[in-house]
């Protein structure tokens, strides 16, 4: 039986197991919107297309499934670009369905035409323009496959309006065949052996792990491996949650705002075992002085990440979970290999433990209400069981430092692009995936205003996300740089805020304000317990800075402490 493109699309999404769609309508979506009207997929209509993509991204990060959004042509499509670039930098599997003007009009500067395939080419893993309705089902199948396989990423499919109206025979393909795309999942056995020998002969090893551990679902294997050999672990921002934040072997995050112990361990290590991390400049500091005494083993599914920023001695291309399995097998089979290992690394473990003890993350407790204290309270109240989204910078760094992420997929944060306005819609997406979980966006007064309109979405769809605004009355991180490096000239960074409680109430959400330390417990408890989307406007010490800090371009050992 023949079906319209719109029906084919809807049935294809159902066949892919899509249960939630984040969307916004327009002229070019009409056939599809109409076809979606009668299907079981939950449709969350947002208030800005950027919000749709971030929400689908939060859904994907929290659940591990592909996040899906659908928008109209022209401005609808261009509004998605920041969301797509955010997901691309952090390797998040998304399918973005953009609608397009009629095929006959493409290239004519038609009303609401934008070359979104051209615009998003450098920030998608792949993208498609569907020119014939006969190709639609195959392309949808490929898009989902490409988004979730290998190193995941966003895939955009542009669907002209006439394609959504035209008829074709429909059968959703059950097989996929892309001759030019075959990711490498299994590491080279010889390389894995070499790596294990290198580990066995190391005296000061560190595991340095990133978002790849979370994407491949390898946290259990990582924990097992680290514990079996007592190797300390540091995470990148994207890697947090990939190793339990309360484990004794955990050093905390490394890099620009990393812990003293993590940055010193990297600096003095003789072997870095990097897994699913891409040696971003915020993590490495000055690359020439990164881990100057160490050999580097690097396990990553994406060969382009290997030896891109840091020269690698033993590269292993493969899925971190598979490679860790193999490494655990070798551990079990070749007991002799690691006979003297514990003895030869014991000095190192003592040294690392001393760094942790002597230089823990801390902050000055006098003065006003401290944002770090607020995060500690949130951790205490949630016992690390909440899903935490963040906005960008001070709020994000304090969340990364003072909340202990115990499980993978409990931190949703824009690591690579650093997108202000990401956290709130991402939290909405995560809440849609896990209606019963407590989902908290740790926000800044600046960032929250970049997608504040999504409060209407949260209220409409009864998604009781909690937004804790660490309100310092500044674009805090920029202010911090101005304080430290531009002689306290706070140009552009002190912006008046609206009354966030009133804003929340105007949208039909709940709003609270906290000014004093003593109110925190009571208000947070009440706010976390209510069943409504909620803003909690916490007026924190405006002068607080994030420490430790490695100034841009400096080496990791040159941290400014509190």
């Amino acid at each position: 039986m023949k079906k319209t493109g719109a029906q084919i699309l809807v049935e294809s999404l159902v066949a892919e197991g899509v249960d939630t769609l984040f969307c916004y309508p327009g002229g070019a979506t009409l056939y599809i919107t109409d076809a979606l009207g009668e299907c079981e997929i939950r449709q969350i209509v947002v208030r800005h297309e950027q919000g749709a993509v971030h929400a689908s991204d939060g859904y994907a990060r929290a659940s591990g499934k592909v996040g899906v959004s659908l928008v109209t042509s022209g401005p609808g499509a261009t509004n998605t670009v920041t969301g797509i670039a955010t997901a691309y930098m952090d390797s998040i599997p998304l399918v973005i369905l953009s609608c397009q003007v009629n095929t006959a009009l493409i290239g004519n500067d038609a009303f609401q035409e934008a070359d979104i395939v051209g615009i998003t080419r450098p920030c998608t893993k792949h993208n498609y323009l569907v020119k014939d309705v006969k190709d639609l089902a195959r392309i949808i199948k490929e898009a989902f496959h490409i988004a979730r396989s290998g190193r995941p990423g966003p895939v955009l499919v542009d669907i002209p309006k006439d394609v959504s109206a035209n008829m074709a025979d429909f059968k959703y393909p059950d097989k996929i065949h892309i001759r030019s795309y075959q990711p490498t999942y299994f590491g080279h056995p010889g390389q894995i052996q070499r790596a294990m020998r290198q580990i066995a002969s190391s005296k000061r090893p560190v595991l340095f792990t990133g978002g790849g551990i979370i994407l491949s679902g390898a946290s259990q294997e990582l924990t097992k491996f680290a514990e079996a050999l007592s190797i300390p672990v540091t995470n990148t921002l994207m890697g947090l949650g990939g190793f339990p934040g309360n484990n004794d072997l955990f050093l905390g995050m490394l890099g620009m705002h990393g812990t003293y112990a993590a940055n010193m361990a990297i600096t003095e290590s003789d072997l870095i075992i990097a897994m699913g991390a891409r040696f971003d400049d915020r993590a490495t500091g000055k690359t020439d002085e990164f881990a100057p005494h160490a050999k580097v083993i690097h396990i990553d599914i994406d060969p382009t990440s290997i030896s891109k920023n840091i020269k690698v001695d033993i590269p292993i291309v493969g899925d971190t979970k598979n490679v860790l399995h193999k490494m655990l097998d070798i551990l079990a089979e070749e007991k002799d290999l690691f006979k003297g290992f514990q003895a030869s690394t014991s000095e190192w473990l003592k040294k690392v433990a001393k760094w942790k003890k002597d230089f823990p993350l801390t902050y000055q407790k006098n003065g006003g209400l401290k944002p770090q204290y607020v995060i500690e309270k949130i951790y205490g109240l949630t016992k690390g069981k909440a899903i935490i989204a963040t906005e960008v910078w001070q709020n994000q760094m304090w969340a990364a430092q003072f909340y202990k992420f115990l499980k993978p997929r409990t931190l949703l944060t824009s690591g690579g692009l650093g997108t202000m306005g990401y956290g709130f819609p991402a939290a909405i997406g995560a809440q849609a995936a896990f209606p019963k979980s407590l989902v908290i966006d740790i926000a800044g007064d600046g960032s929250i205003q970049m997608n504040i309109q999504e409060l209407a979405t949260a209220v409409q769809h009864k998604l009781p996300v909690k937004v804790v605004i660490l309100n310092n009355g500044y674009l805090g991180m920029v202010r911090q740089w101005q304080e430290l490096f531009y002689e306290k000239r706070y140009t552009w960074t002190c912006l008046p805020c609206p009354d966030f409680v009133k804003v929340a109430e105007a949208y039909g959400a709940a709003g609270y304000r906290i000014d004093k330390e003593k109110d925190i417990d009571k208000v947070l408890k009440e706010a976390f317990g209510n069943n409504q989307p909620t803003f909690i406007d916490v007026h924190v010490d405006p002068g607080e800075c994030v420490y430790p800090m490695v100034p841009a371009g400096a080496s990791l050992k040159d941290m400014l402490l509190v």
Binding site: V117, G118, R121, P122, K125, H126, L129, I146, I178, R179, S180, Y181, Q182, P183, T184, Y185, F186, G187, H188, P189, G190, Q191, H298, D302, P303, T304, I306, S307, K308, V312, P315, I316, V317, G318
Partner: protein, 175 residues
């Protein structure tokens, strides 16, 4: 260092801009780029001449391979290969110089493909050095116009490029 890379790609709309966008977006150089269909009409070859140190070339090869539409990337660094380019050059030619030009064209096994009262249009094929030598010879006569194809390349001997698909594989020794 200059390097020649051949890339087999799906003969599809948009692929060229994916490749050129990769080079411009990541700050890699393209000295020349030559694209045409292969024996199999669903596949095109792009021959790219680029410059960079070993680390950059390594990144270029990996990044090209990562593109979904790229079927195979051939790096000629460790291969014995032949490479040829064609140039069309229009030079001043009057009674005094015509005979001399004809002789040079013959020596370089080129062809005169168009004649006007004041010019010759010459076609020469060869490797980079040969073309450079020829152009140096005709330059004093006055070059009016010049177009080059950019080189294309092929491995020497029996070696052929198999357009067999990428295989799911274990990583190789060099990652």
């Amino acid at each position: 260092m200059r390097h020649t890379i051949s890339v087999l790609v799906e003969n599809e709309f948009g692929v060229l801009s994916r490749i050129s966008g990769l080079f411009s977006g990541r700050g890699f150089n393209i000295e020349s780029l030559c694209v045409a269909e292969t024996l199999d009409p669903t596949i095109s070859t792009m021959t790219i001449v680029t410059t960079g140190d070993d680390a950059i070339i390594e990144q270029i090869l990996k990044q090209l391979n990562k593109l979904i539409n790229v079927i195979k990337v051939i790096d000629f660094r460790d291969t014995d290969y032949v490479s040829r380019e064609m140039v069309l050059v229009k030079v001043n030619a009057d009674e005094k110089t015509r005979a001399e030009i004809l002789r040079m064209v013959e020596i370089f096994r080129g062809k005169i493909i168009d004649v006007s009262p004041k010019t010759y249009t010459i076609m020469i094929t060869g490797d980079e050095e040969k073309l450079r030598a020829f152009l140096a010879l005709v330059r004093p006569l006055g070059i009016k116009d010049l177009v080059r194809t950019g080189p294309i390349a092929m491995a020497r001997g029996d070696k052929t490029v198999k357009t067999k698909e990428k295989q799911p594989k274990g990583g190789n020794e060099d990652g």
